[in-house]
Symmetry: C2
Subunit: 331 residues, 2 copies
């Protein structure tokens, strides 16, 4: 498994296997509810659908490479995954999604009500878990991240359909909805290890850049991917009228006719057969996909650069390689 042909994610999973087994056991234990069996049903549907657990792995890797030897990282990693799962449940309600990780969404299998309330339960479970290690700085980092995530989601909701959305707003949205949890996940590692501030900052920067890269790649693949087996459909963002980076750039370069097209399809949501194809043509015409790929590569390079400030460690190199691996999906 540690052959050089394994992906950086596989190598991380291999090195962190013992810790991750503890995280998974803790997740299973804490998603239970004696009183309300609907909770583990809904949660298991999502948690056991085979997410990559990339966020909790970030916490484990960051803590281990900083020489942490206690067990708080297990609880904080489970916290991170619970926050992530809660946001997925609520996202699917907000986006009216029908598919997640290749399976029907919980809001479809049960109902929106269950997704809202079980999401709330998992949020609360996340906070219970993060309190247990008793590290106030880690608590502050993770509770701040939860607020920034929710703020990013609201901002995305109000920016959706608004053709005047700028790249600056887009960056705020993805820093909130995606990067905030990555940077919190990596930052708490050195915090519980009591590492020097420079390392805390380096791992914050790494998580921030990796999260931004991750989301830009996701937004690219929504137009540029060829079915990546992750259960996401090409054009979902177009149908949901989200102003993602490729579209923002294509709109910035649009002539009057093209602008009319974007106003109709994204602004007013009047979409018909062939519109997605035409949108892709416009993205290509203005080089919006290529430049989005360049931006993703820039953030992958930033991520790699951030960990360079950390002491030499095999996990450090895997994190650096992970950034390249994430952006390789758009090559």
């Amino acid at each position: 498994m540690t052959s050089t042909r394994a992906t950086p994610l596989e190598r991380l999973a291999d090195v962190l296997a013992d810790d991750m087994a503890q995280v998974n056991a803790l997740i299973r234990a804490r998603m239970m509810s004696e009183n309300a069996p609907r909770i583990p049903e809904v949660t298991a549907h999502l948690i056991e659908a085979g997410g990559k657990r990339i966020r909790p792995m970030m916490t484990l890797a960051a803590a281990r490479m900083c020489g942490y030897e206690g067990d708080a990282h297990i609880k904080l990693a489970a916290t991170v995954e619970f926050i992530h799962t809660a946001t997925l449940l609520h996202d699917d309600v907000v986006d009216e999604s029908a598919k997640r990780r290749g399976r029907p969404t919980a809001n479809l299998l049960w109902d929106n009500k269950s997704s809202v309330l079980v999401g709330d339960y998992l949020f609360a479970r996340a906070f219970q878990l993060m309190v247990e290690p008793g590290n106030l700085r880690a608590l502050s980092i993770l509770s701040n991240a939860a607020a920034v995530i929710a703020e990013g989601e609201v901002l995305q909701l109000t920016a959706a359909q608004n053709l005047a959305t700028t790249e600056a707003t887009y960056m705020q949205v993805i820093r909130g909805k995606t990067a905030a949890l990555f940077s919190a996940a990596t930052q708490v590692g050195p915090v519980i290890a009591g590492s020097p501030e420079a390392q805390v900052q380096a791992l914050y920067d790494y998580g921030d850049a990796l999260g931004i890269c991750f989301q830009i790649v996701d937004d690219y693949l929504d137009y540029g991917g060829a079915g990546d087996g992750l259960g996401k459909n090409l054009g979902d963002d177009f149908r949901e009228r989200k102003l993602t980076l490729p579209v923002i750039r294509a709109i910035a370069a649009a002539d009057a006719t093209e602008r009319t097209f974007w106003e109709r399809t994204i602004g007013r949501g009047q979409q018909q057969d062939g519109d997605l194809d035409h949108a892709m043509t416009l993205l290509t015409r203005h080089g919006a996909l290529a430049s989005t790929r360049d931006t993703a590569r820039h953030w992958a390079a930033q991520a790699r650069k951030s960990v360079a400030a950390l002491p030499d460690h095999p996990l450090r190199d895997m994190l650096a390689d992970l950034a390249d691996f994430v952006v390789a999906r758009v090559n």
Copy 2:
């Protein structure tokens, strides 16, 4: 204002006015979001609709009567109100409510998406606030309460429409959805004051009993009230097919014909004109409203009894009177 004719709630509000002004200022400051103006819009709609702020007042009263002199109680009281407001936003989505505190609900004025995401933001803000005083026991109490609340809501959702719902399940639901926040609100007062365990327990017991009483009164008034000016409509629970105490008791005493009625209206939700009137007739026939009132009185007496264990203090007497005041709504 401190005349003996004022209600216990008015007397509490009067004595705690300075603290409450600080809580309100903190709530206004923390509900802001520079990046997402939708957040303060939605929050202000609900927060400024004139809730009674009874829960944060419990924290202030409990802390003050235990001799607390710091300012952590302000932050914890605001935490409690934020958790409450977040649950109201999500409740209205789940219940598909159109009215709250006499005004149209946020889910109606904006949309369900905004209510879900702004609720998430307020939850996260609550956790940020509760972390700030740095009291791990208070953190544990409040984060546990958040989990119990969400669990109670899920349990209510799955118990709704189920005629086999027992009084034990009903008690679990209301302990979760209502009493857990009251008992956490009162318990953190003696905790931050460093009071003896007996006082921590007494104030926990008081909040638990008051919260249970509060919810039973609410459930009574949904059938037995004559429009209490709180913006709640007679029969809402019937229309939402909730198994509340009066209905559970009427069903337990139902003959075959009556059972068919409950199965149609609550079990299958096939309701027509006159059904609510007939439901009220059945509740009266079996003394279900009278016995629900007795149960509410029992819990008010429990609440009064709990604070008797605390040292003599004017606030202690106001809390004792508050229990009688809450149950007086059903007299």
